[in-house]
Amino acid sequence: MPLATKILWSIVGVFGALAYGLAIGGVIRKVMARIQGRIGPPVWQPYIDLGKNLSLRTATHHGVMSFIAPIFRAAGGIGVFLLVPVVIGVPALENFSFSGDLLMVMYFIFFGSLGMALGAAEAGHPHSPIGISRGLAQMSSYELPFALAVVALAAQAGSFSIREIILAQQGGWLHWNLFANPLAAAAAFLAFLGMNMYAPFNIVGAPQEIPVGPPTEFNSQFLSLLMVGRATFAVAKIVLYMDLFLGGAHSLPEALVKTFLIYFWSIFVGAVFPRFRTEQSIRFFLGWPTLAGIAGVLLVIFSH
């Protein structure tokens, strides 16, 4: 496939990821509403919210970094998505997967939040730095089990390429890393709860506590860019998890079903738990998930 076609398909892919991410957001709001016995908003409500935020005007500014922060956030989401193959075997949907892409993805997951941290701190509202410090603390703690799980998978497949890891899982669902290395999968899926920041790990947004946390001072177009970043990042994360643990996907419907199930693991956990405090959350991630991650790495080392 020529590079120009590839780039064109990637742009289509990013918009597709955005549409899917927003739709998932709508389904989440609907599901949460049904759990609480409400009717809930229409599924397309996030699209309306995005359109609304784009049609507001503001003349407020807090400085250069607070302008750049939403761009960093969106770039983090789009960056992760562009490196992760969505459907294996279809060159148009394999994105820019290369031999060391897993390391690059690990970096990009951090990238958006760091940019956001700089921008939110400049906005000057006290709730922003509180949310950011909580977010970065939680992030550092869930990165540990996640990184251990990734190392275990890379050692198992003998490669840091997501494509290689997918290919190593072919030949039936029992070959998926979810079953081939259940300890690494446990570590990564517990880390996923922290990554998605739904209850009990929603200490960053923390409604009723630090009302919305980092984006307190962001409005209109800045907020819509943050929404775009959030939606694409969510899709990129679940596609990455599908590739790493559920054997990737051979067709788009398969990818949709698998990613949907992965995402709803964190929603259903979030629906039944109250919120942890910051230190409880960090203690949690440095406990059983990290031990499972270490055990997963040891399992690979001693079984090969």
């Binding site: 509403a33 409400r38 409500q45 919210d49 049609s55 005007r57 003349a59 307190t216 962001f218």
Partner: protein
């Protein structure tokens, strides 16, 4: 209250195509009226934008008086305001609707002005309860204002003492219709007549330590 003697300006739509008086200079965004190119396209675009704005109203989660007790049930399963795209936002930067829920103490008025001016345009004010219309049962109180639209441009009033959550939902429905028709232009009126509003505000807030406009 001395505010009773002040003349009341009617809230009207901005004149079509005119560049309104912008007391705040370059930084003051008055929406689409500043760009008089391609009126047909602009009108169509404004209709679409107004539809988006009306169907995703984010309400500032701030209560001034006893009326805010009637706001809380709106988020519950019984009334469920999320059905209509209404959501509570805890920060003025992300809110579109400011509800003055009941009596407004002069002390709160200062905070309300601050919050209102920080909201991105277009923005709307809903006066909830009879206290915002004529003072209600607090009409002779020494520290509450009697008539809200002397200080902030009100787009919708919901009368009653207290109005039930159903009345609130009906009021929001009315506001949404008004926004879709492009008739909810209180924010525009506020910027056009900023001097008049500031004069009124300064008459009741004696310890005035706010900037001319809270960005």
């Amino acid at each position: 209250m001395e505010s009773k003697k002040l003349p009341v300006l009617p809230v009207s739509a901005p004149p079509e195509g005119s560049v309104p008086h912008a007391p705040l200079g370059e930084g003051c965004f008055l929406g689409e009226t500043q760009r008089p190119k391609a009126p047909k396209l602009r009108e169509a675009l404004a209709t679409i934008k107004n539809w988006f704005r009306a169907n995703s109203l984010w309400v500032m989660a701030y209560g001034t008086g006893c009326g805010s007790i009637e706001l809380r049930p709106l988020t519950t399963a019984r009334f469920d305001m999320e059905r209509f795209g209404l959501a509570m936002r805890p920060t003025p930067r992300q809110s579109n609707v400011l509800i003055i829920s009941g009596y407004l103490a002069v002390k709160s008025l200062k905070r309300v002005i601050r919050a209102y001016e920080q909201m991105p345009s277009p923005k709307w004010v809903v006066g909830l309860g009879s206290c915002t219309i004529n003072g209600g049962m607090y009409w002779d109180s020494y520290n509450t204002i009697n008539q809200l639209d002397l200080y902030l441009p009100v787009d919708t009033y919901i009368a009653g003492c207290m109005p039930r959550p159903e009345a609130l939902l009906a009021g929001f429905g009315y506001l949404m219709e008004k926004i879709k028709k492009g008739e909810a232009n209180g924010w525009h009126h506020y910027l056009e007549n900023l001097d008049w509003y500031k004069e009124n505000q300064k008459k009741v807030i004696t310890a005035w330590d706010l900037p001319d406009y809270n960005w």
